[in-house]
């Protein structure tokens, strides 16, 4: 009787814990995507500000990129954005204070909205960037410029990540995405051959004593906090890279990928080694008994047999490389620009989220953009897992 009850209780407990885990994961993903998708419903100017133009201006809406270029004086003529052939006059709220004294604006800037309205009305080529708090009271002669929502291509193909630029921040994920890929792929290029080499050495060549000594040490390495690795990278690796390649700064994509490679190594080694040691003894013996050398046995029998375990090792390694935040944040130089060489400073997606989330006002466009970055990261790692799943399920025979 008691046996029966305890059986049922244990069964229920296991079911419940499974369900809780499932719900938690589902909740996190939904939350991530919900916040992220909100990005595409946000206008591309800082919250609380609006853009005004003269009523006669044929332009009714602008995209964030156009706004940014106008205010950077890269676009100087309305014609470029589809308007009249007239020079653009940029107006920022500071200019009003040069024209009027504080008394003229009245107590608590009471008269400011009115004056701003007049200012805009007086110039038909003006574009004014004004806080909504001081929105011009005048309704005739001026109009609010409609700002286009951020689009998928703004986000995914944009080449500039300037989340705090005013008036119009840019959320182009391309430099971050490429930075992440560059650092991760480089890290894998360094870590994979080395990791598999060590795994082969440990499982096939090393004698029992060495293996028993090395394996726990290597496994211990994967437990070191990433910030410690980052610190090591910053203090040791980065100056080394700088000196070796005669660079002006040592915090580069290369440094980041080296540190990531070191971090991914223990996982790759330990998982791949386990897989190779699981190759049945009978397989090795069969191969050796046919006159195959040890090396032939390793690459013709052991490695193919351990293929799925090895690919698991690779994916765990890549997963660590792509998702790693702290160490990369510390050693890659954090420049959100399109990477052109491995000696550039880059910035990865996780580093961006970690560095900027604290400064992004909750619910704002920047905040949502960071969530969207989270979604991108989520999808990248998912793609890798699926690829790995396919590789490991594919049987040789």
């Amino acid at each position: 009787m008691i046996k029966k009850i305890s059986n049922i209780v244990i069964k229920q407990l296991l079911t419940v814990s499974g369900a809780i885990t499932g719900i938690a994961i589902l909740f996190i993903s939904i939350f991530l995507f919900k916040e992220g998708i909100g990005f595409f419903n946000s206008p591309a100017v800082e919250k609380g500000y609006s853009l005004y133009v003269h009523a006669s201006n044929p332009i009714n809406e602008l995209s964030s990129k156009e706004i940014k270029e106008i205010f950077d004086s890269e676009i100087t003529n309305w014609k470029t954005v589809g308007g009249n052939d007239e020079a653009i006059k940029i107006f920022r709220i500071d200019e009003i204070f040069q024209k009027y004294s504080e008394e003229e604006l009245g107590k608590d800037y009471q008269l400011l909205p009115e004056k701003l309205g007049e200012e805009i009305k007086s110039d038909k080529n003006i574009i004014a960037y004004i806080p909504q708090k001081y929105a011009p009271t005048l309704t005739k002669g001026i109009k609010v410029l409609h700002i286009k929502h951020l689009t998928l291509s703004d986000f995914f193909l944009g080449k500039e990540w300037l989340p705090t630029a005013t008036p119009s921040p840019l959320f182009g994920v391309m430099p971050l995405f490429l930075g992440t890929l560059l650092v991760s792929i480089l890290a894998i290029i360094f870590a994979l051959p080395l990791g598999l080499g060590v795994a082969i050495y440990l499982s096939e060549l090393a004698n029992e004593k060495i293996r028993k000594l090395l394996k726990p040490i290597i496994e211990l390495l994967s437990g070191i906090p990433s910030v410690v690795y980052g610190f090591f990278g910053l203090v040791v690796l980065s100056p080394l890279v700088q000196k070796t390649f005669h660079l002006s700064v040592g915090e580069t994509a290369l440094t980041g990928s080296l540190i990531l490679a070191i971090m991914a190594l223990p996982t790759i080694i330990s998982v791949a080694e386990d897989a190779m040691r699981n190759t049945p003894r009978a397989m090795r013996e069969a191969s050796l008994a046919l006159g195959a050398t040890q090396w032939q046995t390793i690459y013709k029998v052991v490695i193919p047999y351990a293929k799925s375990g090895i690919s698991a090792a690779v994916v765990l390694g890549i997963g660590r490389a792509i998702g790693e935040t702290m160490a990369v944040l510390m050693v890659t130089g954090n420049a959100a620009v399109m990477p052109t060489s491995i000696f550039n400073s880059v910035r990865t997606i996780p580093a961006t989220i970690a560095a900027e989330l604290g400064e992004a006002p909750a619910g704002g466009t920047h905040y949502q953009a960071l969530f969207l970055l989270g979604c991108v990261l989520f999808l990248i790692t998912m793609v890798f897992s699926i690829i790995a799943e396919i590789i490991s399920k594919k049987k040789n025979y």
């Binding site: 029992e208 050796l288 008994a289 046919l290 006159g291 049987k395 040789n396 025979y397």
Partner: protein
């Protein structure tokens, strides 16, 4: 063909083979029988130096194959194993196609000529009496074969590298009676071309297939003589007791 002189073998402190000297003639089948743990498999595995793979072992004495001490420093172990093929207790085909399994030994020994490989594969499968059963599915997985077929595939695999000695470590112990009789038939046929040493715990099998039989116990070779004599009129009482099933 094979001759051992005062062989002693140790696993660590355990004295597994005690001072065994014996001779095996070319083109004969020699069977090793004895209770589990008597050292017969260990002894067999000395002939292709398979015990080298086990750590912490030690060998004393000489083992001559074709009059050469195979434990001499000048011996190339890979070459030795090419000449002394082995079939294991459990069928252990590689996770590859049937064809690739048989071709493996040739390929690792540097044979590149595809025609030659294909020809050898066919010959070996024929010699192992498997050709008719697999000729239409050479490129299917070896794991699709039955246990008995897999074991014959392993024999074909061993034959492909053209050894002169074939070691068989309880080759039929994991098989059903029909597969077993096929393997035994095969051993009869192979005798004309190979020197065969077979370890078996099945005394009827030893009686059926072998010319000479060695009876092992506790690491010692108790008796070694013609199979007929051994089973009809053994010299020692222990042998008599074992054969008649009084222990073991």
């Amino acid at each position: 063909m094979i001759e051992t002189k005062n062989i002693n073998f140790y696993y660590g402190d355990f004295h597994a083979i005690k001072n065994i000297s014996m001779k095996m003639e070319p083109n004969t089948v020699t069977a090793f029988i004895g209770p589990s743990g008597c050292g017969k498999s260990t002894f067999l595995r000395l002939f292709n130096r398979m015990n080298d793979l086990i750590n912490n072992t030690r060998l004393e004495g000489e083992c001559l194959i074709k009059s050469k001490n195979i434990y001499d420093k000048s011996i190339d172990v890979d070459e030795l194993r090419k000449d002394v093929g082995m079939v294991f207790q459990k069928p252990n085909p590689f996770p590859k196609s049937i064809f690739e399994n048989v071709a493996y030994g040739l390929k690792v020994n540097g044979v590149k000529d595809k025609k030659f490989i294909a020809q050898k594969v066919e010959e070996s499968l024929m010699a192992a009496a498997l050709w008719d059963e697999v000729k239409d599915k050479l490129h299917k997985s070896a794991f699709e074969l039955s246990g008995g077929q897999q074991q014959r595939l392993c024999i074909a695999r061993a034959l492909a590298v053209a050894p002169s000695v074939l070691l068989m470590d309880e080759p039929a112990s994991a098989l059903d009676p029909i597969s077993t009789s096929k393997i035994e038939e095969l051993i009869h046929q192979l005798k004309s071309n190979y020197t065969i040493v077979i370890v078996t715990h099945n005394m009827q099998q030893a009686a059926r297939v072998s010319d000479k039989t060695g009876f092992f116990m506790m690491g010692e070779l108790v008796e070694y003589s013609d199979t007929k004599k051994m089973f009809l009129n053994p010299d020692k009482e222990t042998t008599q007791n074992y054969i008649t099933g009084r222990f073991g």
